[in-house]
Subunit: 288 residues, 2 copies
DNA sequence: ACGATTGGTGCATGATGTTGCACGCTTCAA
DNA sequence: TTGAAGCGTGCAACATCATGCACCAATCGT
């Protein structure tokens, strides 16, 4: 860990080395400051920002105003993560819900976006729903017109769902009509990826079992390449993107034969769930 | 959890990280003072107030005059909050939590009382927790010091948990130290009962596997007789009752060899977080 | 050897996010 | 009831960001 002894202000680090050093600093301190790193490497902040953008696109860190932080600090629970960008996730979830057909057997993959989707599932569709995410299951318990199958196993605290050999054996006997695939990266050439090994294995197995697969992605996941590849892009039938998704990327998907669905803009419309009054501060602190 | 080492008065925390640090402080102490935080981050109180407003708008804390306090344990989903509700169940859950020992393997049966208990499980006990209730699992996901085993299967909408042959086979290989048995009836002569056939079968199987069984009951369940008998009363080691439980009934339990634990009265139960002693006095008056 | 290409870098600019302060109002404690 | 502390809002100053562009060096093909 003492590889990169750095004299303040005089570090001739190679570009590739900067990434490693930044990651070290990140795991050590949980955060890095763009301006400090720039001074340390005696480079411009633009270069640091580019590095950070690069790392973030690989899922290795999360950009914030002023620098970057660890992807999922242990202190911020799933519950906190679920509150981030909720309007945009709800919009994606609403569009996903329109793809459902009565009587279908659907499998809902883990993730906060899919949890938002689960809340939007309308009643009376007589669906059979399977999931390995306890939060999604809890949200669907007692919902009329939903028969719920819970996949059990040891719950991975990072992903928030049951992962491993047991769950994979359980789904081996299932043939869902539709798979709602969870948050991961998607790229026209490199296909679909995930950031955790067990999660990737589970997703791979799910895609193989499903009759059709639909994927909802927020803008920051578009065009990113993750550490674990899951499937080629032609295994995905539909993709749901945000209203303001860059057309340059969505066109690469449709040219590959995917159906691209745009969610409604998550504008000021859906403000009301909690305190209607009160000057809420809606500024997002996580960069995109 | 010690990611953000902070030198008093000189914390170079990134703006976005303040949220995580404040949440840490909040869960540790149950309350935070705006002026103290401002000094600690060497920033103005305005910024802290903005942060607090932001967190509160996401339901992660509750603003009070002078700072913020932990949101009362109802911060999960709306559905959960609806079924949870009563302070009496929280009081029972708090007493149940005192019966836990570090390193134990516990199984939590289904039910809203047990969900209230799950919220009260303290951190750092290094427990292994198994449950077949998705709501309870969702509440424990990502909790530090908890290894979570989810029992899968078809979820019974009435009970809100996975029931049937599959789940019973899964638990057949488990030997939990402690079983937190769910809401059912208890009677000194007729033993313990439940109101649903599948649920009763599950509970029977659980009791047989568990090293020890504890049962928390609200007053209305005391002395009642349910439709399906589960076990003789001597299979229960501990029973937790409400503060004002009729002594006539509790004495019949203790005469049978059960340890009877009385929960704190619900009226004062929700007063003050764990650390009563604090230099600052944040009024409980909630801001709007 | 030589020109074209590529990737990395720094700078300028316009846009966006954040912070501290002033001011008037509300709440608290004595 | 009164003084002090806390609070919300608007605003201006400042910091950070994304993008386009020019420049440089290394690489590659001819």
């Amino acid at each position: 860990m003492m590889l990169h002894a750095s004299i303040e202000g005089q570090n001739p680090a190679l570009p590739a080395n900067r990434h490693a050093i930044i990651l070290d600093r990140l795991t050590a301190d949980g955060q890095v400051s763009a301006s400090l790193l720039a001074r340390e490497f005696s480079t411009s902040e633009d270069t640091i920002r580019r590095d950070l953008r690069d790392l973030a696109s690989r899922g290795l860190c999360q950009r914030v105003y002023g620098g970057a932080v660890l992807v999922s600090p242990a202190s911020t629970s799933i519950r906190v993560r679920a509150t981030e960008g909720s309007e945009r996730k709800q919009a994606l979830g609403r569009m996903l819900a329109t793809l459902l057909r009565p009587g279908q057997f659907i499998f809902i993959d883990a993730g906060s976006t899919n949890l938002a989707f689960a809340h939007q599932i309308p009643d009376g569709l007589n669906l059979t729903v399977a999931t390995h995410d306890p939060a999604i299951a809890a949200c669907l318990v007692g919902r009329s017109g939903v028969e719920l199958l819970m996949i059990g196993g040891k719950v991975n605290p990072k992903i928030g769902a049951a992962l491993g050999g047991g769950p994979q054996r359980e789904i081996a006997s299932m043939s869902p009509d539709l798979l709602i695939l969870g948050a991961c990266s998607i790229h026209a050439e490199n296909g679909v990826g995930a950031f955790d090994f067990d999660d990737a294995q589970m997703k791979t197995a799910l895609i193989q079992r499903a009759g059709s697969t639909v994927l909802a992605v927020q803008n920051e996941k578009l065009g990113a390449v993750a550490t674990h590849q899951i499937a080629a892009i032609d295994l995905i039938a539909d993709v749901v993107v945000e209203a303001d998704a860059p057309t340059a990327l969505t066109e690469t998907f449709s040219s590959k034969g995917l159906r691209v669905h745009h969610a409604a803009p998550a504008s000021i419309a859906n403000e009301g769930p909690r305190h209607a009054a009160g000057p809420m501060r809606l500024t997002k602190r996580v960069q995109r």
